[in-house]
Every structure is written in structure tokens, then in C-alpha cells.
């Protein structure tokens, strides 16, 4: 799918899916931008002033999709603002992750820690390769825990674990649970019983909830 957001990215980086809800939400994460040139008639974007224009030096927290257009290191003519890579991707955090990735609450740092991190690489930060390898190592470091708990019936322990997972890891955990649950439904012969479809069940639940209200 053609993607206007990532059209100028180097090939090879994680490409968004244009229609994906998760990708749209991940590209809404905010990032600090420092304006290098004035932007006329858009002063209202800066809530801290009443100015008609955005003046150089202004710092604004902007969603990624907009920052992506403002920061163009390779094309000086189109370069409007510098971005500041969020601290959770900087060296001090990378060191914590390298020491023991499992104790970190990635949901708090995320919730789209990996996807957003991969998007940040498009800004060509000086430490791009360190960020990229930190993302891989963090995933590898946390992988075993996620896999093992996804293969246990859902309980307090893995509820505590999933609370600390970023959205991509949660997705992975759910996939593991699906495999396990399907197998257990088979093992207990629940599989023989024809079931009401999920959407119908959810629909009825919602109707009942609405009645109670």
C-alpha cells in the first residue's frame, strides 16, 4: 500500500501499514520539535503564545506524523524543525535495557515502544544504529519471558507481566495464548461443542450492559 507518510524514508525501515489502527496510533506519539525557520499564520499551534506566527527557536510537542514532515536533514530547503529523540531511546535508557530488559516497564515507555522507536530512525539521528540494535536486543532479552508466560493459563502472574509489555509484545503474548487455548480446548474436548460466534456473544453482553444502565 502506498504510504504518503513514509514515502521519503529509506527502503528497509519498518514500513507502516496505511490502514492499520495500531500504526496510526503509534505515529500519533508526540516528539519535541525545535523550529529553525518561521512558520507564518500557524501561531495557534503554539498554545503558550498568542502570536500569529511560529517563530524560530519555538519548542513544540508535535505528533510524529507532523514532525516527520518538519525534519528534513537531507533537504535543507524543506527543513523546518529539529527533533529531539525522546529520552527513553537515549543512551542512559539503552544501558538500563541492556543490563536487564525484563525489569523495564515498556508499556510506560511506549506503549508502542518498538514501532515508535523504529519510526524515529527515519530522522537519521546520530546514534541511529545504537537505537536500532537496542530495539533488537531489548526484544531478544524479553522474549523468553513473554513466550513462557504466554504458554501458561492466564493468571495473576502473567497479568502482571502483560501490564509491562509494549503493544507489539502484547500482540505476541496474545498469539501464544491463542495457540495454547486452542490446544486446551481440544484436549478437554470443548472443541467438539459448536459455539456461539464471538461477535454475537459480545453483542449480547453489550446489550445486557446497556439494559442495566
Amino acid at each position: 500500500m502506498a504510504n504518503s507518510q513514509a514515502s521519503s524514508s529509506r527502503s528497509g525501515y519498518y514500513e507502516e501499514n496505511y490502514f492499520s489502527i495500531d500504526d496510526i496510533l503509534a505515529t500519533h506519539e508526540r516528539i519535541k520539535c525545535k523550529f529553525e525557520v518561521p512558520v507564518f499564520r500557524l501561531g495557534f499551534l503554539d498554545m503558550t503564545t498568542d502570536n500569529e506566527h511560529i517563530s524560530p527557536g519555538s519548542k513544540l510537542d508535535l505528533p510524529f506524523w507532523l514532525a516527520r514532515v518538519l525534519c528534513n536533514k537531507r533537504n535543507k530547503k524543506k527543513h523546518i524543525a529539529d527533533v529531539e529523540i525522546p529520552k527513553q531511546y537515549k543512551e542512559s535508557y539503552r544501558e538500563i535495557l541492556l543490563a536487564d530488559a525484563n525489569v523495564v516497564d515498556l508499556h510506560k515507555l511506549g506503549p508502542y515502544y518498538y514501532t515508535f522507536g523504529a519510526q524515529l530512525l527515519k530522522f537519521d539521528p546520530a546514534d541511529a544504529s545504537d537505537i536500532a540494535s537496542s530495539l533488537v536486543q531489548t526484544f531478544q532479552g524479553r522474549f523468553r519471558n513473554i513466550m513462557d508466560s504466554s504458554q501458561n493459563a492466564y493468571n495473576e502472574d502473567n497479568a502482571r507481566l502483560t501490564a509491562k509489555l509494549d503493544e507489539m509484545e502484547k500482540d505476541l503474548f496474545k498469539a501464544g495464548q491463542k495457540g495454547l487455548n486452542d490446544f486446551q480446548d481440544w484436549e478437554t474436548r470443548r472443541v467438539e461443542k459448536l459455539q456461539t460466534s464471538t461477535m454475537v456473544v459480545n453483542h449480547k453482553k453489550r446489550k445486557r450492559a446497556a439494559l442495566i444502565e
Binding site: G12, A132, V136, F139, M147, Q151, M168, D182, F183
Partner: protein, 188 residues
């Protein structure tokens, strides 16, 4: 419904029902010609091999007795468990559908001697193999290799890990692609 429907264990079981098992019928019947092959003839008290689905069906209608396959013998299962524990890699299972065959047979023929022990042993072997499976997946994801060769896994085992494994490989692939684009060279 999901975008890509995964294989359901019920479908794996359906494939397993083509495995042949030995029954001792209590009726007479000429050869039955089916698309999947010929079955029979059936003679009272004369053992004959039939597909599992038919064995279960006949048993439920009290038309036969089922002889458990040789590999379900307690001593053999114990030896298999021992072997699986010792071996670094997966060992070859005596039946490509050992889980399903055990489950279906013991459900319809609980009178098979030492059925409970059989069930426990088979489940032990399953657990051993799944732990091994997870260990090798972890190694693969941590190794920076892009593929691995694994022998002797059975369909039910693969099917149980499939949603997780394919997703994990997708995710690690997308993360690695980033590192390559950022000029990062994986340490050997």
C-alpha cells in the same frame, strides 16, 4: 473471523483420524470401497486394520474391540520418555499423530489396560517436547540467524506454537531490518 484463519486442532485431529488402528469386529461385512481406499473384509474375532475414524465409530456402536497400537505399550512409552529426556534434539515419534491417537482411543475405549498411565506418559512426552520446542525458538530468536532446521516435530506440536512463532519471526525480522538500514552489523 481473523484475516488469516489458523489451522484448528479439530482439523489436525481430522487428519489424524486417517491413521490406521487394529480392531477386532464382532460382525461380518464384505470389503467397503471408499475414495480413501478399501476397508475390510470384517469377520467376527478376526483382527483388521481400519482408519481411526471408523474404529471410533464402530466402537461407539459396540461393533468392535480396539487393540491399542504397540507404541502405546507402557514399557515402550517409558523408554520413549527416557529417550526424549536424554536427547538434545527431537526424537522421532512412533506416530506422527501420537497425541490425537492417544486422546481419541482412550476416550472411546477407556477399558484399554493401564489407560491412565498411558495418558500420563504421553502427556509427559508432550510437555518435554514442547519445552524443547520453546528452548529452540528462544535460541533462534536470540541467535541473529534467519532460519533453523528442526526434525521430527509433529503437526499438533507445530500447530500449537504456530500463531506465536510466526508472529515472533515477523517482529524480529522487522526489528532486524531496521538495524541493517541503520548500518548496524550484528555481532557474530
Amino acid at each position: 473471523m481473523e484475516n488469516f484463519r489458523l489451522m484448528d486442532p479439530a482439523e489436525v485431529e481430522f487428519l489424524a483420524e486417517k491413521e490406521m488402528v487394529q480392531i477386532v469386529p464382532n460382525f461380518s461385512q464384505d470389503i467397503i470401497y471408499l475414495i480413501g481406499g478399501e476397508i475390510g473384509p470384517f469377520n467376527p474375532s478376526l483382527p483388521v486394520d481400519v482408519p481411526l475414524w471408523l474404529a471410533v465409530n464402530l466402537k461407539e456402536r459396540q461393533k468392535c474391540r480396539i487393540n491399542a497400537p504397540q507404541w502405546m505399550d507402557i514399557e515402550q512409552l517409558e523408554a520413549k520418555k527416557e529417550e526424549e529426556t536424554e536427547a538434545q534434539f527431537f526424537t522421532e515419534m512412533p506416530s506422527p499423530h501420537y497425541m490425537e491417537v492417544t486422546q481419541l482411543l482412550l476416550k472411546c475405549a477407556p477399558e484399554i489396560p493401564r489407560a491412565d498411565e498411558m495418558r500420563t506418559l504421553v502427556k509427559d512426552i508432550w510437555d518435554l517436547r514442547m519445552a524443547k520446542f520453546r528452548r529452540s525458538i528462544d535460541l533462534l530468536v536470540k541467535s541473529d540467524h534467519t532460519h533453523a532446521k528442526v526434525n521430527h516435530l509433529t503437526l499438533m506440536e507445530i500447530n500449537t506454537m504456530r500463531p506465536f512463532l510466526t508472529k515472533a519471526l515477523d517482529q524480529i525480522h522487522s526489528l532486524r531490518t531496521n538495524t541493517q538500514s541503520a548500518g548496524y552489523i550484528a555481532p557474530q
